[in-house]
Each structure stands twice: as C-alpha cells, then as structure tokens.
Amino acid sequence: MPTTSITLSETPLVGTVLRRADDALVLGHRLSEWCGHAPMLEEDIALANVALDLIGQARTLYAYAGEIEGSGHDEDALAFLRDSRQYRNLLLVEQPNGDFAETIVRQFLYAAFADPYWRAMTASTDPRLAEIAAKAEKESAYHLRHAAEWLIRLGDGTQESHHRAAGALEALWIYTGELFEVDAMERAVVETGAAVDPASLRATWDATVDAVLGEATLTRPAGLGVQTGGRSGRHTEHLGHLLAEMQSLPRTYPGATW
C-alpha cells in the first residue's frame, strides 16, 4: 500500500457512491470528535451512536465503490489514501463542530436531506445501493429526530441557546445550496435510475426545515446558500486538517496492516 494518494478511475457511478460515502465518513468523524466532551453523558453516547451509524454507512459505500471501480481499492484505501482534492463530500459536513448549537444545526440541515435521500434510494435500480439505503434510511430517521428535537430545545430554550442556535443557522446556511446540486456526472447516474436526483428532494427538505425552525422559534434565512465545490473536490480549509489527522497512521507506516 503506497503512502502517496491512490488514483481512481472514477466512472459516474463510482463518483456518485463516493460522494455519499465521503459525506457519511466526514460527518461521522466530526461527530466522533465529541466523544468524551459532550454537554452531558447522554449526548456523548447519542452522538457516538450517530457517528457509528455514519461510519458504518461509509464503510459499505466505500466497499461498493471499490468493487465497481475495480482496481482493488478497499474501504481503507479509499478513506485514508485520497487527499482533500479527491474527497467528494458536501462542504456542510466538514465544518468544525463549533459549539453544540453548530453541531446540531449542521446535523439537522444534513439529516433533513439524508433521510428523504435514503428513503428514495431504497427504490434504486442498483440492488446494492437499494440495500444500503434500506439500512441507512432507518438510521437517518433517528438522526433527523435527534437533531430536530435538540434544535427545538435550543431555539426555544433560553435566550442564550436561542442566540447560539440562530448564529449557527446563519453561519451554516451558506452551505445548504450544495445539498441539491446535480452535475452532468451525477445526472448520468440519475438517468439510469440507480441514484435519486438530489434536486427532487428540495420540497421535502423545505417542509422539514420550515416545520422544525418554526417550532424552534428560529427564522429561516432567505433563499439557499451559494457556497459549493465539495462535490468536485474544492473544499473549505477545514477538510485538509481533518484528513491530515485521520490519515496520519496509514500514511506514516506504508503497507502496514492494522
């Protein structure tokens, strides 16, 4: 196993699967950073649960991406031996944890998308993706409920929590447009029926966001955020640090098995 990054033959299907795998891994990694540092023991455990689900989703997606890519890259090669320009995740999920409000807002905005995404993907014409979606859908329903309940508590809790939640929403909103982005590569996969068009989930996402923000007494920022680039490997500065930490051992000890 080389320490330099791997090179992939990225067909549209490989690319589409990698995007979802990277979303799940990067967000799972972020949530795992909370373990031992959460506001209460129950949340150490709950956030670790969500992180474990996401890392599990990433693993099955990477395994599948490796198979269809066909050059023998396993889940670890894909996770640990691609650099930030090769990562395909949403900018939203790589944003640092910040305070608990930022973590919850990030989680909510993502889960409000991921939950209907995986539900729709259970009808994928690709049997493996449909199978992965069937499991992910159950998990994402819990992730959405957990994040929404917290967002309502924070928004409608104290003045301070309301203020922090509103600030987090304001700060992270800029990354929301990317959720619904479809490029030519992914369009080709959508046309085969193997993947769902993210843009088609916009109305469901809007309804969830409006309902929860309403209950949380938070004001929805206008429109959708405009910052994108993650899907084609143009990330914020944060991802490089995350990967440097995450990938340090496999890159330091080339060829070792752990």
């Binding site: 891994l25 990694h29 795992s32 950073e33 373990c35 031992g36 540092h37 959460a38 506001p39 209460m40 023991l41 129950e42 949340e43 150490d44 455990i45 670790a48 649960n49 992180a51 474990l52 890392i55 599990g56 990433a58 693993r59 990477y62 889940e75 670890d76 996770a79 640990f80 305070d99 608990f100 309502i152 508590r153 924070l154 409608d156 809790g157 104290t158 301070e160 929590s161 922090r164 930490e245 995450m246 340090s248 051992l249 496999p250 000890y253 060829g255 070792a256 098995t257 752990w258």
Partner: protein, 335 residues
C-alpha cells in the same frame, strides 16, 4: 478496575444504640447468607458511605477513562478500528451512566458526585492519568486495563448490594469484549512490521507497571478492605487480584512475543504463580496525589466539557419547563 480503595479514612464510627445494634446484626446475617441488599432495605450508614464512594469512584473512572482512548478515535488507522474504538469508548460512557444510576439508589444525585470529581475531591482510577502516546496504547489498554478491570469486577458481580452487583454483570460482559478486542490489536501489531512490533513492546513497557498498581496498595496498607470484606463488597484482597492478573497476563504477553518489563519476573513451579518484582509505590502515591503525567489534563478536560455544556443543560431544562407550563395551560383551557 476502577475501585482502588483510595480515599481518606471514614470518620470514627459513633457508638450504636441498642436498636441499631440489633438492626446491624440482622443486616450482617443477611449479608453472610449471601442475600442481596436492596435500596429500600436498612443498611449501616458506613456501608452506604463506602458504597457511594466506591460506586461513584468507579463511575468517574469510566468517564475519565473515555479520555485517553478518545485521544485516538480520530486517528484510528482503519475504518474498522475507528468504529470499534468509538463503540468501546461509548460503552465506557454507558458504564458511567449505569454506575451513576446505581449510586443514585443510595441517595446521592449524579450532579453531587460529578461535582466531587470536578472539584478534585473524588478520586478515579490512577491508570487514566497515563498518556496514550501511540496507537499500540489502544491495544495495550484494552488488553491490560480492561483485563485488570475484569479481574476486579467479576467478584463484584456477587457484591452484597443488589444494584451494584447487577450493574457489574452487565459491565463485565462488555469489558471482556473490550479485552479481547485490545488483545486482537496487540496480536495484529505483533504479527506486523518490525516498527509495529516495536510499538507493541513499547506500549507494554509503559502500561505494565501502572496496570499492576490498578489493584491498589499492598494488603495491610489498604484502608477499606476489612469492612468491605465483612460486608461482601470486596471478596479478594488487592494482592490476590494482582497475582491473578499477573498469572493470566504473562502467558498472553509471551504468546504475543512480547516481554513484560520486569527482569525479576519468573515462574515459581512450587506455587504455580508468576513472581514479579517490586512495584514502585512512590510513583503510585504521586499519581494519587495529583502528580501523574496527565492528572491536570484529565480534570481540565472534564471541567471544560462540563462548563461548555452548561448552557445546553440549562436550555434543555428551560425548554422542558416551558413545555410543562404550556401543557398545563392547554389542559386548563380544555377544562
């Protein structure tokens, strides 16, 4: 094992009234008969105090113990290891929760005992004041620290206090899983490259002696053992458990091709035990006194998490209160 008897000696017992003497005798008879004591049963005040101290120390150890291993969650070298380590650290948090709940059955709140941890008044296991410097430390902790925890905790599954005994049964199942998982990391490293094997040996060198210290001071110096033994909270002495651990662990080290860092370690044919060298009790005392490698960091991190989370806990309470008030209003309207 997170139950080193460490704290200051209890205040001298007050003389008992005739009624209390009778209750006390009946209590001891039940304990001798191996009956479980339950939260609503009468118990001597010193028994309650001893249990509160031991169970809350044990809970704190689980919580502080999340930190050294948590240090490697973001750097685990494969996705499988990452998930396993995260799940393990999460289990330790769950152990903390059950144990705080068991302590609550004795009439102390979680807030109260957590405050004692954060103020530095309550102790936790000395082992978690050592740093995790390499990935091999994650293997060594699972193998040795969880291994030592099991040695100590299996007898606690028969502890006279029902809620503690039941919590321990649940916890022990998970600890043995952690122990196997840690040993498996060590096996992989030992069978790996020369560098990986060196990491494994280095981790054993650093964790071996602190793990032997986990069983607490030598018999005779331990302050709580006598009463705890009579009450069937403790069933084996510190030295007995330590010997059991060494006997179980040395062959495991040899199987890995690793050598415990003790030139005096030798098998005694006559007794069937592994004899080991002198433990540096001065190091142990220093760690207990707050001068271990990580004491300050561990407490600082716990205090920071607690302080940073204060506004979240307040928000949750405020929201619950609002929701209650709204519900009451709605009911009034309906009536």
């Amino acid at each position: 094992m997170y139950t080193q008897a460490l704290n200051a000696r209890d205040a001298v017992a007050q003389p008992l009234s005739a009624e209390e003497t009778a209750k006390s005798a009946a209590f001891q008879a039940r304990v001798d008969d191996e009956q479980r004591i339950e939260p609503n049963d009468w118990m001597p005040e010193a028994y309650r105090r001893t249990l509160v101290r031991q169970i809350s120390q044990h809970a704190h150890s689980e919580i502080v113990g999340m930190l050294p291993e948590g240090n490697w969650i973001t750097r685990a070298p494969s996705l499988k290891r990452k998930a396993a380590l995260l799940a393990k650290v999460q289990d330790e948090g769950g152990h903390g929760l059950y144990l705080y709940a068991a302590a609550e059955t004795l009439g102390v709140s979680r807030e109260e005992v957590v405050d004692q941890l954060l103020s530095g008044k309550a102790k936790y296991s000395s082992i978690f004041n050592y740093p995790t410097l390499t990935w091999a430390d994650i293997g060594a902790i699972g193998w040795l620290v969880d291994g030592a925890a099991i040695m100590n905790q299996i007898p606690l599954c028969r502890c006279s206090y029902g809620p503690y005994a039941r919590a321990m049964i649940r916890i022990c199942k998970e600890e043995s899983f952690h122990q196997r998982q840690g040993y498996e990391i060590m096996l992989t490293l030992s069978a790996g490259t020369a560098e990986q094997k060196a990491l494994a040996q280095d981790a054993l060198n650093r964790w071996w002696w602190p793990c032997l210290m986990m069983f607490g001071p030598p018999d005779g110096e331990s302050q709580h053992s006598d009463a705890s033994t009579r009450w069937k909270i403790k069933r084996f002495s510190n030295d007995q458990l330590r010997q059991k651990f060494v006997d179980a662990t040395v062959p495991q080290a040899h199987f890995l091709g690793l050598t415990p860092p003790d030139p005096e370690l030798a098998f005694d044919e006559a007794s069937g035990h592994w004899r080991f060298g002198e433990i540096d009790w001065e190091e142990f005392r220093q760690v207990l006194a707050g001068n271990g490698p990580c004491n300050r960091d561990r407490l600082r991190v716990r205090r920071k998490a607690h302080a940073d989370g204060a506004w979240v806990r307040e928000a949750a309470l405020a929201f619950a209160e609002k929701r209650r008030a709204r519900k009451a209003d709605a009911e009034k309207q309906a009536a």
